[in-house]
């Protein structure tokens, strides 16, 4: 089936002859996955801007997030809770309901500082969404982490035994690679 999907993509199977394939892909989750992955690979090869496989889920989750983020009460956004992507939608809607109930009682007695902090967090989150041109799988948790209040202790970058930040080594290799660094990466910064 995989070979046939590939052939269909390469125009080696006529569309008229591919009905069984289409039906197969619809019935079979793996086939549909292969279909979308081959498209992703093709898009990348052609230099088109590829969307991440979880694009739809990410987008829906973000659309759900957005109006709530812009409200002055962003208390739950400030919770450093990282939610699992698969149930992000459910969680977000549950949170929203809880928040709507809470916000009525909070809205009146919140100090001004809090609402400023909340709007700052909101602006940061929105800014991050705009900056993030290619959203990967981990995007949602990352953005929540960005919105955590500044009094939280910043996590230190990973360093290797010499105290050299691994992130900098990787950045150097990405922008100024040596001929062998495409193939050999020092053990300290392979994942």
């Amino acid at each position: 089936m995989t070979e046939q999907i590939s052939a269909l993509l390469d125009d080696e199977i006529a569309l008229e002859d591919a009905e069984h394939l289409m039906a197969g892909m619809q019935a079979n989750g793996h086939g549909a996955e292969v279909w979308s992955q081959y498209h992703l690979i093709g898009d990348v090869m052609r230099g088109a801007n590829a969307l991440s496989p979880s694009f739809k889920e990410d987008l829906m989750a973000k659309i759900d997030l957005e109006p709530t983020v812009l409200s002055p009460n962003a208390a739950w956004m400030n919770e450093p809770k990282v939610f699992n992507e698969t149930n992000a939608l459910d969680e977000v809607s549950n949170k929203k309901q809880a928040l709507e109930a809470k916000s009525k009682s909070f809205a009146t007695n919140l100090p001004v500082v809090w609402s400023i902090a909340a709007s700052c967090a909101a602006v940061m989150v929105v800014g991050w969404m705009v900056l993030q041109t290619q959203v990967g799988n981990q995007a949602a948790p990352t953005m929540v982490a960005q919105a955590t209040p500044p009094q939280e202790v910043a996590t230190l970058p990973v360093t290797n035994e010499q105290g050299v930040p691994v992130e900098y080594l990787m950045a150097h290799q990405a922008s100024a690679p040596s001929a062998s660094s495409y193939y050999i990466q020092s053990a300290s910064y392979t994942e």
Binding site: V34, V135, N137, A154, A176, P177, A179, S186
Partner: protein
Amino acid sequence: MKGFVLACLLASALSNTSQRVLAASDDDKWQILQKAALAAHALSYQGIFVCQSGQQSKSVQIKHFFDGQNEFARNVLLDGSPREVLSQGSDLIIYNPKNEKIVIEKRRGQNMFPAVLPANLAAVKQSYTLRTGDIERIAGRSAQILFLEPKDDLRYSYRFWIDTEYGLILKSVMFNGRNEMMDSISFTQLNLVNTVDLDWFKPKIDSKKNYVMEDEPPAQADYNPSPHWMLKELPAGYRKVDQMLRTVHGKPLPVTHVVFSDGLASVSLFIEPVTNGVKPRAGHSVVGNTSFYSTVAGYLQITVLGEVPEATVAAIANSVVFVK
């Protein structure tokens, strides 16, 4: 048009080597190197080369195709995890297997073996001297050795084995100041190809794995007109070639990343504000081929690293001055 010019240059370069004499003049030697820089882009070839760096060694299968206008290359790691690098001109796509996923990374490519030399050798000429050595046999082919030696101790030396017929670099080795081999890349098998189709120009797809784009946000151009730093005198021969803003994991603000090059060696400079409550880093270290140097300038944490001698990373770090 570009392809035509390349072909002409290559043809003239080729006729030059056929008349190569033992006591080549300085110009002739640089001509061989110039031709090697060109041949890597303008020839179509396939083969296998071995990369060696520190304790590690990896074989890579390469196929490179030039249609007179565009360059296509596919490099597949044969040892260990089957990473693939596909390049079209300077656009690079890396298929990097990580656990159960295959991460797709996009890069701007440069100096991929055997195209390790810049097209313009003027900067290299300024900082290195060139001398010819013996003829040796590499990957079953006859090769002219060229020694590229630094004029000072701010860079490492290189040795190139150049195919006497094709003009291609067959082997490239970098040595440090104590003449110890830092890394080496060498063809074990090479032949020219006469393809027209591009059937091979695609990654091998593993249908059992998930393909995902890397989630690292791409670096952005740095447009800040008045940064809180400036560069005093840089070490001889090094020029700034790139500057960008990078989001680094664990850092609240984007970090400024500046890249310097002397034509062959590259150095990265990272500038960020000193973080409150974090002890600033200072000192130097060497990991593998890479030298590191950290220092503080005013309220800025400076980190410099590159495949260059310690003196060079220190000089670049110390050239950064804090400006209020």
